[in-house]
Structure formats: structure tokens, C-alpha cells
Symmetry: C2
Subunit: 268 residues, 2 copies
């Protein structure tokens, strides 16, 4: 396995980062998880557009042309003969001295790692996370940044409670998203998804489904979940039925027509 | 300059971390900033106790004895002949595969880096951060974790607005702390500090001052700030007068008796 690191392909087992990298010391960076299917790296422009938007929010000047990043992604898939799986692209602000303030001149780190194998499929049993909340009052809720510990805490709570994943509530008690995917519900026959203002990450596949199926952004209260006739979770790697929440089956519990349409959008 | 990395001293310029380290990919780790003064590493037991408490919240099993960590800290100061400055101790969950879930067996990373020179002194001009909020609903508000981007955003806002630092409000609008220090105020003759439940990091020096001077934990509204006769910020590296907020001088604007007492507690 080879990863792309700052302009060169190196064996994954030998890939090393400067110990003063701000990605490590402060979570000061961004990432994208990008699907590879049929040997094709999917939705590169949408992923790079989100990366760029995140970099603007962090004032992180990316020194690479979009075409360079796209070539690095394609190259990582090709060098590893990756036909199905994912690429994780990580960008950090690069090395820096101690403290929050970045150095005057930054040399960002770029890492692209391949991951083969299909992502988990089948219905998700979720819980509503009780230990932590998603902070919709922070700009970080709208970008895919390295500071991911809240999602990690929620995922861990789910596993401890015998589930697969957790839904995160925001600080006002509205449902924001799952730990690594967006939520869609069919409520009274209409496809809805939590708004970005409520703490939903602006997912690349979420946007594609909203555009293709005309889903509406609507705040979701935890009580709304039991009224849904269908529910599913989406991220770059696929679409999964949300089968149960806090141990209670949700909706019809099996893939419905909205799920099938969303899965078809993902597969494009 | 030499850093301590996983059991050995290595030249800082050559210190490297595995590119799959979860500290880098997910901010999955903890840190401590520890003062060195007069050649002495200060408050080691308190820092290691907080590290341990944070590790428990993250389910991060630390494979080192407290005495080993203390020796590594003392050793890093000694090897670098550090008489005044700081040590930054960073612990991560170590390398792992893609995704939030940690591997079955983790090999945590331990890095201790020395930083010489006195920390900034003199009065702090602060603003109240408007771009982000501290999430007091997350357990992360109570630990010193690597996912530090909200504090970084607030600090950047302060610099852009011509100030030195920012005070963060929590999601309910109460004052939680500054970007890398705790807040103390003298209100109606009484020394008060925001409670941990409001999102104040349980600072090591904060705890020492609360214990020594009998400061009271009390929720602080932004309006309360203008009523303070004295205000100061504390962290492991020292105590500084808070001289102005949003451009308005605060209190008497010069070191008062409470500040002097707090500075003496720090100097112990």
C-alpha cells in the first residue's frame, strides 16, 4: 500500500509526519473521504469544492491547484490498483511552533491514503447520543475538520449501548446528523433532512440527493423520528437504511422507494 | 533541541509521527502545557492527574506509569538545559485504520517537546468571540484534547479585531474562558471564576487559585464583565491582567491585590 504524502508516493508503513504538525497538535486541518467504485474516484470536484470552503473558514491557504489535487487522488487510486474502497485526503496547516497562533508562513501537509474493501452495508441500528451534543453555534459544524472527537465520543457511546451508530442532537436538542453520515427521513410522504444551520455537515452525497430528489431541509426533533415511514443515512461511501433508534424499529424497517432512489443517486 | 518521543530523545527536527496516527487524523488525543521555571518542571502531579482524567473520558488507556511520565518530563527539561519555558506533552491513541472506531489494540503515542523563553506578559486586550461558541454540552469542554479548533478560531478573530485574545461564550451565552486560559473576576469584592459546567477548562492553576484564595465558581454573563473591579487570566504559564474587553478598559486596568495574590500562587 502506498500513500501520497507532500508530492510523492511512499509506502504506507513508512509514511511519517513532522511531530510539530499542527494537524497533530491542534486538530488544525481538514479531510475528505472519497469513494472509489469501479476503479473510478467519485465526485472529485464536489469534494475539492468542500475542501476549499473549509480551508476558507480556517484561513488555510491551500498551495495546490485543483487539478494537482485531482491528479494526486486519481494517482493514489491507480498506484494502488484500487477498484473499490475509499481515499482519505487529509490537509493540515503543517508544522508550527507551540500555541494556537499559526506561523507567518505555513507549509501545509497533504496526505492521501487508500482504503480497500466495501464499507459496511445493511440497516443501521442507531441510538440518540446522550453524552455529547453537536455544536451548531461553531463554524466547525459546517466543515469536515480534523477536530472530530465529539463524533468519536458519540460513536463510542453507540457501540457501548449495543448499536452501530449514534444520532447527534445539537445544543438546542434538534437532530443534526449521525457520527459520519447525514440523515434523511420521509415524513408525511415528504423527504426531509436536517438543515446545515442545525449542525448537519454539508455532505457531498447529501447535496446530490437534495438536488436530485428535491428533499427539503427541515429541523427534526427527536420525537419526529418515530413518525418517519422511511429513514436512511448517507455519506460519500454509500446510503444505508436506518432500521432502529434506541431499540425501536423505525418506519417500515426495510429499504423503501426513497432509499432506492437515494442509492441510485449515490451510484451515479 | 531534543524531544522525547515514545521512549527516546530525538532531535526535534527529525521527530516524526506515523502518518496514520489518530492524533493527526481525528484529533484523538490529549495534551498538557507545563511550565518550567528556575529549572523546575512545575505542578507535575496536577498535570498528570488531569491527563489521566482526560484519558478516562476518552477511554484511552495510558500504558505509562505516572513515575515514567514524570521522569520523561524532567528528562526533557534536563536534556535541553531548559531553565525557563514550557513543556508540551502530547498523547494520542496512536496509529489506526480509517474511521472513527479505534483498533482493538492501541499503541498510544507520547511526545514531549520543550519550548524556551518567557510566555507573553502584561495586560491582555480581549474581545468577546462572535464567530464561535464553546460547547459546554460536550465532555470535551472539560478535558484538554487535541481537537482545539474552536479555540483557534476565537484566537484568530481576536487578532483580526486588533486584540490579543478572545473570551468564549458557551452555547447559552455565558462566559466560559479565554482561548488558552481561565478567567477570574473581582465582582462586588469577591473573587469569582466561571464554573466547569459552563465550559471552563478545569485549569491546573485555576484549581490552585480557587483552593488558595477561596474563589467562588459563578456563572458570568457578558454584562457582568463591565462591573468587575479587577480581572485576570490564568494558565499553566502564568497570570495576566485582563485590561480591556471589546476596546473598553476593564476595572482599574492595572494589577490589583487579587492579581498579585494569584500571581504569587502561580509562582509557588
Amino acid at each position: 500500500v502506498k500513500v501520497y504524502l507532500n508530492g510523492a508516493f511512499v509506502a504506507a508503513a513508512e509514511a511519517r509526519i513532522d511531530a510539530s504538525d499542527r494537524g497533530l497538535s491542534l486538530g488544525d486541518g481538514l479531510f475528505e473521504t472519497i469513494a472509489v467504485a469501479g476503479g473510478r474516484v467519485k465526485r472529485i470536484p464536489a469534494h475539492l469544492a468542500r475542501l476549499k470552503a473549509g480551508a476558507q473558514i480556517l484561513d488555510l491557504r491551500l498551495p495546490w491547484l485543483e487539478a494537482e489535487l485531482a491528479a494526486a487522488l486519481e494517482g493514489t487510486a491507480a498506484v494502488n490498483r484500487l477498484s473499490a474502497g475509499a481515499l482519505r485526503l487529509t490537509v493540515t496547516r503543517g508544522p508550527g511552533p507551540r500555541g494556537l497562533s499559526p506561523p507567518a508562513k505555513c507549509y501545509p501537509t497533504l496526505l492521501i491514503a487508500p482504503h480497500s474493501g466495501a464499507p459496511p452495508a445493511g440497516p443501521v441500528r442507531a441510538v440518540i447520543a446522550t453524552e455529547t451534543r453537536r455544536n451548531e453555534r461553531s463554524p466547525l459544524a459546517r466543515i469536515k475538520c480534523l477536530s472530530s472527537l465529539d463524533n468519536l465520543l458519540a460513536r463510542r457511546e453507540a457501540i457501548k449501548r449495543g448499536a452501530d451508530d449514534a444520532l447527534l442532537l445539537n445544543t438546542q436538542g434538534r437532530v443534526a446528523e449521525a457520527t459520519a453520515s447525514n440523515l434523511f427521513l420521509v415524513l408525511e410522504g415528504e423527504l426531509v433532512t436536517p438543515p446545515v444551520a442545525d449542525g448537519a455537515l454539508p455532505g457531498v452525497v447529501r447535496a446530490a440527493i437534495v438536488a436530485a430528489l428535491g428533499a427539503r431541509e427541515q429541523s427534526i426533533a427527536p420525537e419526529d423520528l418515530s413518525r418517519a415511514s422511511q429513514a436512511f443515512l448517507t455519506n460519500a461511501l454509500g446510503v444505508r437504511v436506518l432500521g432502529a433508534i434506541d431499540g425501536r424499529p423505525l418506519g417500515e424497517g426495510k429499504p423503501g422507494p426513497a432509499f432506492a432512489k437515494a442509492a441510485a443517486v449515490w451510484a451515479r
